[in-house]
């Protein structure tokens, strides 16, 4: 097991460095190989993580919660690596090299973050993801990309500054109990829960929600998100929306665990509920009237992150199980949606919704798959997202938060209207005279989407037993016994 853990850390980094030096086909092959290897490695870890925590070198620690997030990232890494082969067909060698190097480095940081055993290393990993993804957002040489990259790196770095402050206060709280050379390890901090002084923990949690929440896309610090996700190249957007938001939410979850252990469930849950509801409301409203397909999907990501926060705030075990499942299902569905949108933009050469029409006729595979992804994002049964949102709402009703659950359902419905109204126009709208010729641009861009759709429905219909076990263990660790 420790070999696999070390491999998951080493392989993407090595791949990234290699891609800087080799010709583009080799770089593509290396990336695909690295992606599939990491995904396989994470899959191998799951049965073990469902029963015990894995430690290695005292810096790495995988428990059930982190395994869930790693699974989401691993899957998207593999899918996106395959997708990029087709997406980058028309780019030159230098661009391809930089792209693959950045992609691998980005995936490396996102895989490393859930594995970190201390809050400080977690912060460093998330900061590395910011830095690498900012360069990836700016890789397209357009005005919009430059603007989006600058906004992203500035706002996200400022938010992570607050996250660092949260880490400092967490150290302060921990050092009062665990001694001065406390190294910000997460496990001992949670174990020492009730002995921690309340004020620093409360401050740390709030700063973490606002600071890391900047990277998650919570209201009111989400403003970089639509820009960055729409201006980045599509594979990067898929990773940003599907994985990076989740990894940042993982950081908030760790602080949530500490806060619940020290302060009891009331304050942390109220805070998450407030931020989550505000994000969901804002996203639901902004989904109407979008004109850019990737911006539309970006706001959908804000919506789903809000759902995650609300789910955690409900606190019931079934709600927490729904949250963990939602992370996986959202990764698959959002990845599919972005990849489909990417096919559309390549085919029609525009990102504007008004220019994308008649998709079902023009793209025999990607059209229906994109439609499937969009409906899945709106919680169509039997997709994984339907199952997870159902569990979240059930948990909310079960734990007595009737009003919040009702608001959740209402806003999700509003979001469904906004999202599908635009998306169905893309698929079913009458093709204008200058529609491109029928046919898929590349098979490389279809296969990962098929895999994603399969995963999505697997999660919805019959999640594998090991996965359910893993999620159950994660729920117990998140304190779902109340």
């Amino acid at each position: 097991m420790s070999v696999i853990m070390a491999a998951i850390l080493a392989v993407p980094l090595a791949a990234g460095l290699t891609c800087l030096a080799v010709p583009r086909r080799a770089a593509a092959a290396v990336s695909v190989a690295a992606g599939l290897a990491c995904f396989a490695g994470v899959l191998a870890l799951i049965p073990v993580a469902a029963h015990r925590d894995l430690d290695y070198l005292s810096y790495l620690r995988i428990d059930a919660v982190s395994a869930v997030f790693m699974l989401a990232t691993g899957f998207l890494y593999a899918a996106v690596a395959v997708y990029s082969v087709g997406y980058l067909r028309h780019q030159d060698q230098a661009y391809a090299r930089r792209f693959y190097a950045g992609l691998n480095a980005f995936a490396w940081a996102m895989l490393a973050a859930p594995m970190m055993s201390s809050l400080a290393l977690l912060w460093i990993a998330v900061e590395v993801t910011t830095v690498v993804s900012a360069l990836l957002v700016a890789i397209e040489d357009t005005d919009g990309a430059a603007e989006a990259a600058w906004k992203y790196v500035l706002i996200a770095s400022a938010g992570l500054g607050l996250g660092l402050l949260a880490t400092v206060f967490a150290y302060f709280a921990g050092s009062q109990v665990l001694g001065e050379h406390y190294n910000l390890a997460i496990g001992p901090l949670i174990a020492a829960g009730t002995r921690l002084p309340a004020t620093p923990v409360r401050l740390a949690f709030l700063l973490a929600v606002v600071g890391y929440g900047t990277k998650v896309g919570l209201f009111p610090v989400y403003t970089w998100l639509p820009d960055a996700h729409s201006e980045a190249p599509t594979p990067v957007s898929a990773l940003l929306s599907g994985s990076l938001l989740a990894v940042s939410f993982y950081a908030i979850l760790r602080f949530y665990q500490v806060a619940v252990a020290a302060l009891g469930p009331g304050f942390p849950r109220d805070a998450l509920l407030a931020f989550g509801t505000a994000s969901l409301l804002l996203a639901a409203l902004y989904l109407f009237g979008q004109r850019d397909i990737k911006r539309l999907l970006a706001y959908s990501s804000v919506e789903h992150m809000g759902i995650l926060a609300i789910g955690v705030s409900f606190g019931a075990p079934v709600a927490l199980a729904g949250v963990l499942l939602h992370v996986l299902a959202h990764a698959a569905a959002k990845g599919n949606a972005f990849m489909g949108a990417g096919v559309f933009t390549v085919k029609y050469r525009t990102k504007q919704l008004a220019g994308l029409r008649g998709g079902l006729g023009v793209l025999p595979w990607s059209g229906p798959l994109f439609g499937l992804a969009v409906f899945a994002l709106s919680a169509l049964p039997p997709s994984g997202i339907f199952r997870s949102e159902f569990q979240i709402v059930a948990g909310g009703l079960g734990s007595g938060s009737y009003a919040a659950a009702a608001v959740l359902v209402l806003l999700v419905t509003v979001a469904f209207l906004g999202l599908t109204a635009s998306a169905t126009g893309v698929l079913l709208g009458p093709a204008s005279g200058r529609a491109p010729a029928r046919g898929e641009p590349s098979a490389w861009m279809v296969v990962p989407v098929l895999a994603g759709a399969a995963a999505l429905f697997l999660l919805g219909l019959h999640p594998p037993g090991e996965l359910t076990g893993l999620i159950a263990r994660g729920v117990a660790q998140l304190g779902g016994a109340s």
Binding site: L135, W150, L165, F172, H181, N183, L184, L203, P226, R295
Partner: protein, 226 residues
């Protein structure tokens, strides 16, 4: 009559107060080159404070940290920033930096005073303090955080915003010295190197921005809306 604090506490308070003043100075400066100098001075003060706390509490780790922090934040980062600002080629300042205020200087200072007051009392009312530094220092760190955000908001050019971020990191280092002086050295060093990496990335993006628009102003970064 309020008592005067002890020597170390007084020194820590004085250093923190001067750091806050330097931050206001950065708010007032029109030229990015001068802002970078003020940032170097502020980083030097942080190193001095680290030495003071190390002497007071007998933490040898902090001496090493002070030296590393000085090397990085007083020498390396300002050097990097200055080199980036000379990106225009012809020496001094690329266009678009002077006059990049959204408010006039006096209004900006007054607004920043308001922000500083909020941060000051918000953090100060928590009554948190480490064994070495008094609660005042943490309150000043809180004020500095808010003024750094103010600096990023009020100025409309990328150089000021980048320097605002570096100042934010200084403010957080001050808070860390106050409440987390015993943080293991390796973690503190990792934070410092992380800052360096972030500055490098900022620099690359600033270069790209400058190459594209021939100025450092963010006034035309309004294309993406809604």
């Amino acid at each position: 009559m309020t008592n005067a604090p002890g020597v170390y506490q007084g020194a820590a308070n004085a250093i923190a107060a001067v750091m806050l003043l330097l931050e206001f100075g950065m708010l007032r400066q029109a030229l990015a080159r001068d802002q970078v100098r003020l940032y170097a001075a502020q980083s030097a003060l942080i190193s001095v404070l680290a030495v003071v706390i190390a002497a007071d509490r007998g933490l040898p780790d902090l001496y090493v940290l002070a030296a590393t922090s000085a090397a990085l934040k007083v020498l390396a980062v300002p050097l990097l920033l200055r080199r980036l600002l000379r990106a225009g080629g012809a020496g001094d300042e690329p266009a678009g930096v002077a006059g990049s205020y959204t408010l006039s200087v006096a209004s900006a200072v007054l607004a920043a005073i308001g922000l500083a007051a909020f941060g000051f009392f918000a953090f100060g009312s928590l009554h948190l303090h480490g064994p070495a530094a008094p609660p005042l220092a943490l309150a000043i760190a809180g004020a500095m955080v808010f003024v750094a955000f103010g600096l990023m908001i009020v100025r409309r050019d990328v150089a000021s915003q980048a320097i605002g971020f570096c100042t934010l990191e200084n403010a957080i280092s001050l808070a860390a010295l106050v409440v987390a002086a015993g943080l293991p050295l390796i973690l503190e060093t990792a934070f410092l190197f992380d800052l360096l990496v972030a500055v490098v990335v900022f620099g690359m993006l600033i270069r790209a921005h400058h190459a594209r628009t021939e100025s450092l102003s963010t006034a035309d970064l309004t294309r993406l809306r809604g």
